[in-house]
Symmetry: C2
Subunit: 272 residues, 2 copies
């Protein structure tokens, strides 16, 4: 199996690292140094767009808008029967664009590896980040059976814990809640800090909660805007739950506040 | 040195475990089973209020209101020259009450071990939770030099990473921000979850951020109410920072959103 990875940033390079143990991996990145590092680390057999046409699978590992631009610019390199996938964090906006660009002979199925780091670029690549992470497969109107079977196999080879299949709208709604909202919360908490003494006053909770306030601003600005509608809904939902706590404190309603704590303890306790 | 620990829950028992390696530790708890476990584990030399009078140090390890009740009920057991301290998570309300109850011959200095677990009770006691945690000393109008020196020594023996000395109001303001606010955020996030699929869609961020949504509802309801004024201020401050993100998304203002991400990344990056 020959796999082409377009974009060798943190995720693309971590894929290249993991997949090169099982497949023949080729790749490309706009950044020359990144290309050289990928070769030196042995992640790819060769670098260059000329290898794309002869691969069985193409994985787009750029930001969503760059994936779209890449496809538009290099449409002619794709061959009939190829499997196409991408690793992007939001789906509806990008997938609809990709579906318009590619021919019906391309077997396109999107997916989302729910893993990352607070650092970007190939220098922080590490295929261990996929171990025990969630792997979401998001079929497209251009999905044939081959691509979905390949993704399943690839997810297993990379060591993901749990695979799920879901449609693009539900994906974006859930990601708005489980990933984008927590990032917004962490960023807001750190930005709200106007104390000099914070570090001496933190326990594990503040440290764990704000870790993700270190964020790749280009990528996440794009992801937030692409998921605007769903994310704003989830942010409002959170604020309503937060206001219930505030109101219970203001009214000094012990029973109400305890009930909110009992509910969250019970719900989080069922969670692994 | 003879130390009496009143209250052998998670923190009191973890103190007993750590301190019994250096001092003669005596203790008391309202729960008979807890007392037996403390004896079995060798945390205390003996159990019983009758030992309080002959100890050099008394550590109150109940909830704040129970500390106050305990002092009121057992005032007569305290002896001139004893060191008194407590481990409570909020200070202003409780310390002012304690200062009223005790005589001028008691050397009272409060402190706050910034450590804990998402479980309560002696069965989860573990003196390792203090390693690398923050230790905050909060002097009282009844503090003489002996108690503060003892606390410094005790903090070192228990393995705390960093010691700070701060007044009760500043303590409560900072704790409102670094501890209570994150707990409120985590509880609200979990309570806002109305999806069935959440678990398959979470990365480390959601898991880390919601760990503290498992919360001892009795203790934290008390702590939230005692710190009501400061906590509500910090909750408002957070909501203003959260709304800046929401507004940038609504207005699709890329520069504004990126600036918020850059600010949080820079600020959190300076943090250990």
């Amino acid at each position: 199996m020959k796999v082409f990875i377009a974009g060798l940033g943190l995720i693309g390079a971590s894929y290249a690292s993991g997949l090169s143990k099982h497949y023949q991996v080729y790749g490309y990145d706009q950044d020359e140094r990144t290309c050289n590092v990928a070769l030196e680390k042995g992640y790819v057999k060769a670098i260059g767009l000329n290898h794309l046409s002869m691969c069985d699978v193409v994985i787009l590992a750029f930001y969503p808008t760059v994936n779209i631009e890449f496809l538009k610019s290099h449409k002619d390199l794709f061959k009939s029967g190829q499997i196409l996938t991408d690793v992007a964090g939001t789906k509806s906006f990008m997938m609809k664009e990709i579906e318009k660009i590619i021919g019906d002979d391309i077997d396109y199925c999107s997916h989302h590896p729910m893993a990352g780091k607070e650092k970007k670029g190939i220098d922080f690549s590490d295929d261990q980040i996929f171990k025990h992470a969630n792997f979401i497969i998001v079929p497209s109107i251009k999905t044939k059976s081959k691509s979905q079977a390949f993704l399943k196999e690839m997810g297993d080879l990379l060591g993901f814990k749990k695979q799920s299949v879901i449609d693009m709208e539900k994906h974006d709604k859930l990601i708005g809640f489980t990933s984008q909202l927590p990032h917004a919360m962490a960023v807001a908490l750190v930005n709200a800090d106007d104390f000099e003494e914070t570090q001496a006053f933190t326990g594990d909770s503040y440290r764990d909660l704000t870790r993700i306030a270190m964020i790749n601003e280009d990528l996440w600005t794009e992801l937030f805007f692409e998921n605007k509608c769903y994310l704003l809904e989830e942010m409002d939902k959170f604020e309503r739950a937060f206001d219930l706590i505030k109101d219970a404190i203001k009214r000094e309603d012990k029973a109400a506040l305890k009930a909110l704590f009992i509910a969250s303890t019970e719900k989080r306790g069922r969670f692994r």
